[in-house]
Amino acid sequence: MPPEKTPPTLDEFRAQAAATGLPLTAEDLELLHKGYVGLLELMKRIPSTWAWAAEPPQVFRADE
C-alpha cells in the first residue's frame, strides 16, 4: 500500500516533517523516522488497489 517505492531517508523524512507543523527535536525525528519506516513496511500488507466505490465505514457498526 505505501505510495513510496523505497522508504524515505532521514533527510527526506526531515523535509516531510517540516510540513506537518509539529515542533520536533532531533531525537524526535530520529525516533519517528524509524517508526515511520517500520510502519510503511507493515503497511505493505494493506491492499493498494480498491474498487473506486469501495466505501470505508464512516462510523463503523459491528451489526451492519
Binding site: 506537518t20 517508526g35 517500520g38 500488507r45 457498526r61 451489526d63
Partner: protein, 462 residues
C-alpha cells in the same frame, strides 16, 4: 466469615440482597486493604473514600428498606482514570489533565451509580490509554500483583492490578487494541471488550473513535456478565452506540455449552507462544471439549493483517485527537506517548482510508471463516509480562503482532479467561470471541471453563 475482599460480585450481591452483609462493611474492608497493600502496586491514583462510604450507607439504607437496584447494588468498584467523574479529578494519567475535574459523569459512570455501585476511586492507566507506561508521568505506573517487579499490562493497568490484588470487586477498563484483555491476561482476571457500540463511550477520554470500546473487568467471567448487564444500552450521545436488545448476561453465564461450536484460530499463535502459554492453550481446548463444546481448527485471515490495519487507524486518529497538544505543549506528554501521537502526522489520507477499507474486508472475511461456528478461540498473550524497569519500545507495533487486535478490527465481543499459571507464577490466558452482540455465548463458554477449573481459587500473595 471469609475475607470479604475475595468474594465475587455474585457472592457478595447475594449476601447483600438477603441482608447477610452490609455494603458499609464490604467497602471498609476494601478501603482498609487499599491502605495496607496499594503502596506496593500503585493501582489507585485517586481514592474517593468518603464518597464511597456515603454511597455504601445509601445502599445499605435502600436495601434494608426493600429497594434493591440489582447485581451491583452496594458493590465496591473502581474506574480507569479516563472515565469522567463529576467532582473528582480525572487525569488520564497525564500532566495535560493533571487538574481536570469534570462537572458531569461519563454515561457508564452514571449507569453504575444508578445501579447502586460504590465507587472507590480512580485507577492508573497508560497515559491517555495509549498503551505504554513510562516513569515521566504524574503518578507512578501500576505494578503487577503477581510480582511487582513486572508490569501489569495495559493500558487498563490499574484496573487489572487492583482486581487481582483484591482492592476492588470490579473495574472499568477501555479497549482500543487490547487494553482490557492485555492487563486481564497478565493479572489473571477476566475482562471483556464488548461489541463495538454496545457500551457508551460518552465521557471517556478517546484514543481512536473507530475502535474505542468501554468494558468491565472482574475476577470471574460471571462478574463481568453482571457488570455488563448494567452497562449495556443505547446512548444517543455516542455516535457509534447501537440499539441492541437487553440481554440477561448473568443468566447466560450459567448456560450449558454442550453443542457450542468453537473455531480455534491456532494459526494466529502457533510457534510464537512461550512453552507455558502453549501448554495452557492446549489444556483449555481440552477442557472446553470436555464440557461438550466442539473445537475445530479454522484458518482466519493472517494475524498481521488485523495488526497493521488497527495500528494505522489508531495512529491516525490518536494524532487527530491530540494534534493541538502535541504542537503546543509536547513537553507535557510522556516520552513514549508523545512520539506515538506524533507519528500519525505522517500518515496520508489515502493510507488511512485504505486501512478503513481493509477493515471492512477483514470483517467480512472473518465472518465468512466463522460460518457454522458460535465462537472464536485464540491465545490472549504471547508469554509473560514485561519487566517493570524496562519500558516498552516506543513503537511496540514493530515487534510481534497483537493477539487482541483482530477483535477490535472486526468489532466482535472478546473475553479474556485465565487458563492457569506458568512456571514463573504468572497467569496464562486465552480469548473467546463471539459474533457481534452475542456476548451471551462468550460468557457461557468462559464461565463453563472457569467452573471446570481451579484457577479462580488462587490469588497473588502480597
Amino acid at each position: 466469615m471469609t475475607d470479604l475482599t475475595t468474594l465475587t460480585i455474585a457472592e457478595a450481591g447475594a449476601l447483600l440482597a438477603r441482608g447477610a452483609l452490609t455494603s458499609t462493611a464490604l467497602t471498609e474492608a476494601f478501603l482498609s486493604r487499599i491502605a495496607t497493600i496499594d503502596g506496593k502496586l500503585g493501582s489507585f491514583v485517586t481514592l474517593t473514600a468518603e464518597r464511597a462510604r456515603n454511597a455504601a450507607r445509601q445502599a445499605d439504607m435502600e436495601i434494608s428498606g426493600g429497594l434493591y437496584r440489582g447485581p451491583l447494588h452496594g458493590i465496591p468498584l473502581a474506574l480507569k482514570d479516563i472515565y469522567e467523574t463529576e467532582g473528582v479529578l480525572t487525569t488520564g494519567h497525564s500532566y495535560l489533565k493533571a487538574d481536570y475535574v469534570p462537572a458531569v459523569d461519563a454515561e457508564t459512570v452514571r449507569l453504575l451509580k444508578a445501579g447502586g455501585a460504590v465507587l472507590l476511586g480512580k485507577l492508573a492507566t497508560h497515559e491517555f490509554a495509549n498503551g505504554a507506561m513510562t516513569p515521566d508521568q504524574p503518578f507512578p505506573p501500576a505494578r503487577n500483583p503477581w510480582n511487582p517487579k513486572y508490569q501489569p499490562g495495559g493500558s487498563s493497568s490499574g484496573s487489572g492490578a487492583a482486581i487481582a490484588a483484591a482492592l476492588c470487586m470490579g473495574a472499568m477498563g477501555s479497549d482500543t487494541g487490547g487494553s482490557i484483555r492485555n492487563p486481564a491476561g497478565f493479572c489473571g482476571t477476566a475482562g471483556i471488550k464488548p461489541t463495538y457500540g454496545l457500551v457508551s463511550r460518552c465521557g471517556i477520554f478517546p484514543l481512536s473513535f473507530s475502535l474505542d470500546t468501554a468494558g468491565p473487568m472482574a475476577w470471574t467471567v460471571e462478574d463481568n456478565a453482571l457488570m455488563l448487564e448494567v452497562l449495556a444500552g443505547h446512548d444517543p450521545n455516542d455516535q457509534a452506540s447501537a440499539k441492541a436488545p437487553k440481554v440477561a448476561y448473568g443468566a447466560a453465564a450459567h448456560r450449558s455449552i454442550k453443542g457450542l461450536r468453537i473455531a480455534l484460530a491456532r494459526t494466529w499463535y502457533e510457534g510464537g507462544l512461550s512453552a507455558d502459554m502453549a501448554k495452557g492453550m492446549d489444556e483449555a481446548v481440552r477442557v472446553l471439549r470436555d464440557q461438550g463444546a466442539t473445537v475445530d481448527e479454522v484458518v482466519f485471515p493472517d494475524i498481521r493483517d488485523y495488526h497493521i490495519c488497527g495500528r494505522v487507524i489508531i495512529t491516525t486518529e490518536a494524532h487527530a485527537i491530540h494534534r493541538q497538544e502535541v504542537i503546543e505543549t509536547p513537553e507535557k506528554f510522556g516520552y513514549t506517548t508523545r512520539r506515538r501521537f506524533q507519528l500519525g502526522a505522517f500518515i496520508s489520507a489515502e493510507q488511512y482510508l485504505s486501512a478503513l477499507r481493509f477493515r471492512r474486508k477483514l470483517t467480512v472475511d472473518t465472518r465468512a471463516a466463522m460460518r457454522g461456528y458460535d465462537l472464536v478461540m485464540t491465545a490472549n498473550q504471547w508469554g509473560p509480562p514485561e519487566i517493570f524497569e524496562e519500558p516498552q519500545a516506543i513503537f511496540h507495533f514493530l515487534g510481534k503482532p497483537s493477539l487482541t487486535m483482530p477483535f477490535n478490527v472486526t468489532g466482535q465481543p472478546a473475553l479474556t479467561v485465565c487458563c492457569g499459571y506458568g512456571s514463573d507464577g504468572f497467569p496464562l490466558a486465552f480469548q473467546l470471541a463471539g459474533r457481534a452482540f452475542d456476548e451471551a455465548s462468550v460468557f457461557a463458554a468462559g464461565a463453563a471453563y472457569e467452573r471446570a477449573t481451579p484457577w479462580r481459587e488462587r490469588r497473588p500473595t502480597l
